[in-house]
């Protein structure tokens, strides 16, 4: 057998990266981009939390404050959270998990990266130029009348949506058409199911968001008045269109995270998932029900009691599917042979935070309770528990889990465990006080607050600093281990997953020898298949 160089060394020079069709290289470019977005969005959050150390006017002007929370939301949701796991780890792992040499449409994949950059550039330019102060939700009629520069930011979000559709389309086609011969649907890793369900949401829901923010941009620039009550329009229709996407978008953020967790748990518990089908189909269940819940954002916007009741009940169905997943993961641990590596520690953080965030989600889906909590810090804390507690911890779990495969180096386990613990502590210190603040009546997005909220706000800010420091620590040791990390074996975790049967890092076309799907990706009751042969380095 002829040895070939791994994908990182398969071509040299900047052109071989910028014009690559290799899904693994595109995944790495996305990793750099979303990490920058996370850093940027995190920096804005730090400024906001620093301002909130004191109620009075200091540090930044109120208008700057409004622009910063808008920027924080737009960057974190559209530039980090939505592409984070699909475009990075989906891109890297999905073709390998299917035994494909690449995605179905490699050029569309590369284009999706540049479309992402263009959208991000447009939105950020708008932010620097005039800066939208609408919040990431762009609610009309404020968004169509504010003097700040809404149009470029909204158009940037539109363009980012196009990138998201391209990614989803590619994954759907790849999953259907490029599975290795003999790999049936029920042989696929759970992560593929999760990414597939996510992709369906991306291609169906994203165009409606594109339309909604596109209309806001046109309306703001040309005064079309489509949501303007003065011309007979209805601002609530914007909310419907916006949340028709943006609620399913929550599942674009959390489903891939659940997919990551579903890979991490069997690997580190050395056990077949408690129920493969429950994990696979509950992803599709969430994707489906997720389309019918958007109205729970509008409980106080004047929708009928009947509508509100339906949307409330539909929202609770999501919790059933989510609970199936959580119990299945816990069931997988039972009598497993558990090792506490960093990804596993992140799994425990994930389960705790996601369950907490999910349960408070049930609480706010209850119409009578939501009236009390609507637009308060309670809601902020709830969705940060899901978004950071869920997606960010799963992102970090995935980063540590696949780091040896992606870069051929091991990260320092001790530092990984320490920073995972710090992330968890910092997160709780940031957001638990926000539940209390919201329940006591502090509204979201306010520049000032009464004195009785001071202590909780200071706690929250200190927690944010701890969280930020833990993330910087993670970045530092991961970057350091790119150079000084121990060389990674093909399968450092003893996983049965298909992608681990290739060398670390994999060759340009993913596998030296095609894997045998008959040896299942969760077959922990059998000895592992042969180690992948090393490649020339």
């Amino acid at each position: 057998m002829r040895t070939e160089p791994d994908y990182l060394r398969a071509g040299r020079g900047i052109r071989s990266w910028l014009l690559t069709r290799d899904h693994k290289r595109i995944a790495l470019m996305f990793l750099v981009a979303v990490t920058l977005a996370l850093t940027l969005g995190g920096a804005f959050a730090m400024i906001l939390r620093t301002k909130l150390l004191y109620s009075g006017p200091w540090l930044i002007e109120p208008l700057t404050y409004n622009r910063l929370f808008t920027l924080h939301g737009v960057v974190m949701v559209f530039m980090f959270m939505i592409p984070a796991i699909p475009a990075v780890f989906g891109n890297f792992a999905l073709p390998m998990m299917l035994g494909a040499k690449d995605l179905a449409f490699p050029r569309i994949n590369l284009a999706s990266f540049y479309v992402y950059l263009a959208g991000a550039a447009l939105a950020l330019w708008g932010m620097i130029h005039g800066g939208a102060d609408t919040g990431w939700t762009f609610y009309a009629p404020y968004s169509t009348t504010t003097p700040t520069d809404v149009a470029p930011v909204a158009l940037g979000v539109f363009v980012l949506g196009v990138s998201s559709i391209m990614t989803g389309l590619n994954f759907i086609a790849t999953t259907h058409m490029l599975r290795r011969r003999g790999l049936r649907w029920h042989d696929m890793p759970i992560f593929v199911w999760a990414i597939y369900a996510t992709s369906i949401i991306q291609v169906i829901a994203t165009p409606v968001l594109g339309l909604a923010v596109g209309l806001v941009a046109i309306d703001h620039a040309l005064h079309m008045g489509i949501f303007d009550p003065a011309l007979g329009g209805d601002p609530v229709l914007f909310e419907h269109l916006f949340w028709f996407y943006s609620h399913p978008a929550v599942y674009i953020m959390i489903l891939p995270a659940m997919g990551v967790i579903a890979e991490v748990v069997p690997t580190f518990a050395k056990k077949h998932p408690f129920s493969y089908k429950a994990l696979a189909y509950s992803s599709l269940g969430i994707a489906f029900v997720g389309f019918l819940t958007w109205g729970h954002h509008l409980f106080v916007a004047g929708i009928s009691q009947f509508d509100a009741a339906i949307f409330g009940v539909m929202s609770m169905f999501v919790a059933i599917f989510s609970a199936i997943k959580v119990f299945t993961w816990i069931g997988t641990l039972y009598r497993g042979s558990i090792t506490f590596n960093t990804p596993m520690l992140y799994f425990f953080a994930f389960v705790y935070l996601f369950a907490f965030g999910g349960m408070t989600g049930i609480a706010v889906a209850t119409t009578s309770l939501d009236v009390h909590w609507h637009d308060t810090y309670f809601v902020i804390a709830h969705f940060h528990f899901i978004m950071i507690g869920g997606t960010l911890t799963a992102f970090l779990a995935a980063l540590h889990y696949w780091f040896p495969k992606m870069f051929g180096r091991m990260y320092p386990e001790r530092w990984g465990l320490v920073s995972a613990a710090l992330v968890f502590a910092g997160f709780n210190l940031t957001f638990v006080p926000q539940f209390l603040l919201g329940n006591a009546g502090m509204p979201r997005r306010y520049y000032a607050y009464p004195d009785r909220f001071h202590v909780l706000n200071v706690m929250s800010t200190l927690g944010a600093y701890l969280l930020g420091a833990a993330l910087i620590l993670t970045l530092v040791y991961l970057l350091a281990s790119l150079r000084w990390g121990k060389p990674a074996p093909a399968n450092p975790w003893g996983s049965r997953g298909f992608e681990w049967r290739s060398p670390s890092p994999p060759p340009a076309h993913n596998f030296v020898v095609p894997f045998d799907p008959a040896h299942g990706c969760y077959a922990y009751d059998r000895p592992p298949p042969d180690e992948a042969p090393a490649v020339e380095t």
């Binding site: 070939e4 073709p95 494909a100 040499k101 690449d102 995605l103 179905a104 449409f105 490699p106 569309i108 559709i165 389309l169 590619n170 759907i172 086609a173 259907h176 058409m177 490029l178 291609v203 169906i204 829901a205 994203t206 165009p207 409606v208 594109g210 339309l211 909604a212 209309l215 046109i218 309306d219 040309l222 005064h223 079309m224 008045g225 489509i226 303007d228 011309l231 007979g232 329009g233 209805d234 229709l237 419907h240 269109l241 028709f244 076309h509």
Partner: protein
């Protein structure tokens, strides 16, 4: 690595084991894209439905000022163009290159005719003051409710016209490739995809025509 498989359209990409597989994948991708496109229009149509429900009389009155002659002519033009593009694909399957090119050129001409008529129609409306939003200045009808019809008319037909224009661009590219002999009776998936897209453009108009022109 095994040697790349050569096909009429260059080497087969490594991830595919056969040309048929690649073509089937391309078609699936196009269908998914068309589904996504439908949702883009569906959002606007939902707005239309909501506002028409609130302002039925105003929508009725406003649509009486739509240009039924041009709208109907454009319907026939687009339907015919869908036929010509389907015939072009049929001609390719039979191996008639010149006929393929001629039919594609006919499709392009019909698409451009649609655009030209649309511009004439817009110009007529704007002269009357039937403009969207704040620019509405049509003396015969009060703004409230009616202006929403007018705005939606421009948004729906404008978005559709953008798709027509994009489709014409794609058809020009396909016609050039057809002229160069890139399509064979067994390998012409790009042409099929162009045809599918063009049918979507046609289909959207089939919804817009009754909703905007025929409701009076």
């Amino acid at each position: 690595m095994t040697a790349a498989v050569e096909t009429a359209a260059g080497p087969l990409p490594v991830q595919y084991d056969s040309l048929e597989r690649q073509h089937a994948t391309a078609r699936l991708g196009m269908w998914v894209f068309l589904g996504s496109e439908s949702l883009l229009f569906a959002g606007l149509l939902a707005l239309y439905a909501a506002y028409r429900f609130v302002y039925p009389a105003e929508f009725h009155a406003a649509s009486a000022h739509a240009n039924l002659v041009i709208g109907t002519a454009n319907t026939y033009i687009l339907l015919t163009s869908s036929l010509t593009v389907a015939l072009a694909i049929h001609a390719t399957r039979r191996g008639h290159r010149r006929r393929t090119v001629a039919l594609l050129v006919a499709t392009i001409a019909l698409g451009l005719a649609f655009d030209v008529l649309k511009v004439i129609e817009y110009a007529g409306h704007l002269r009357e003051g039937l403009a969207p939003g704040d620019y509405y200045a049509f003396a015969d009808l009060p703004a409230r409710g009616v202006v929403l019809y007018v705005t939606l008319y421009y948004l729906l037909t404008g978005l559709h016209a953008l798709h027509v224009t994009g489709g014409v661009g794609a058809l020009i590219w396909l016609a050039v490739r057809a002229q160069r002999g890139a399509f064979t009776p067994h390998s012409h998936v790009a042409l099929e995809l162009g045809g599918l897209y063009w049918h979507l453009v046609d289909l959207v108009w089939i919804f817009l025509w009754p909703l905007l022109y025929l409701i009076r």
